[in-house]
Amino acid sequence: MATAVLGQDERPLVAEASLDFLVVEMVDLMHRSPTDTEMDKEAAYFKLENLGYQLGMAMVERITKDRPRFLDNLDVVKFICKDFWIALFKKQIDNLKTNHRGVYVLTDNNFRWFSRMSGDGAGAEISRQAFAHLAFPCGLIRGALGNLGVTTVVIGEVSTIPQCTFQIKIAKP
């Protein structure tokens, strides 16, 4: 996807497709286990979420290094919706809702990692399978917020592919 000629550019470039493939394979890998119990699925979700957490923390260090301080929690969440999402997915969050009491709902109408998902007709089935792929992005958001000083719980929800929502609950101080 780079405009530079492969092998002749000094800037370090990575094909976007390789990142997409890596993320997909990561979810499949975590779910590969000899048994198929509920505990395994929860363990896989937990592992993926923590992976995202570490990555989110590191990403946010890198992205905010030239930025001034944040004013309040809303400012931090707006940063996630704009700069963080653009850095990761080249687009912003489409909709942000809040109840001004520490709960924010972020909606992405065309989530990049869901844009190629499809199955054989059954929409509900796909939404269920897509849920496992939400663990990593939830962790990313939680890690980013955590490293900016906001302790949260992030829950993802998928309604219809490729739309998904992330609910951020800020822990009471």
Binding site: V23, S118, D120
Partner: protein, 126 residues
């Protein structure tokens, strides 16, 4: 769901027949070909239809049947592979789960929809 083609055979039987024909023709063409490294079998034409064949370096085979008067559909087949198959089948995050539950990964809605739209947009389609 068993769709039948114009010949009245089920799609599965037709697919097996075509595979056999294409396999033997490819063998024949490569053995008779004088120059090494030539393209190999590309298409054959009868009085009622023309069959275009495209094989990827990974061994995937694409077959397209058209009117006997069409010219080369090689670029179209290449686009189908690169822009439609790779995008909507290879990059489908649910591909592994689909194959595990017995559904062939090609039977997915995004792939079928985009393929339909692309083929309809080709010049010469009616």
């Amino acid at each position: 769901m068993q769709a039948t083609g114009a010949t009245g055979m089920s799609l599965e039987e037709e697919a097996k027949l075509v595979y056999g024909v294409v396999f033997s023709l490819r063998n024949l063409v490569s053995k008779l070909s004088a120059k090494p490294g030539s393209d190999g079998f590309i298409s054959y034409r009868t009085s009622t239809y023309k069959l275009h064949y495209f094989e990827t370096p990974t061994g995937l085979k694409f077959v397209l049947n058209t009117d006997p008067h069409m010219e080369s559909m090689r670029e179209a087949l290449r686009t189908i592979y690169g822009q439609i198959y790779v995008e909507y089948v290879v990059k489908n995050p649910l591909m592994r789960q689909l194959t595990q539950s017995g559904v062939h990964p090609v039977q997915n809605d995004l792939f079928r929809g985009n393929l339909q739209r692309f083929v309809r947009s080709l010049p010469g389609f009616e």
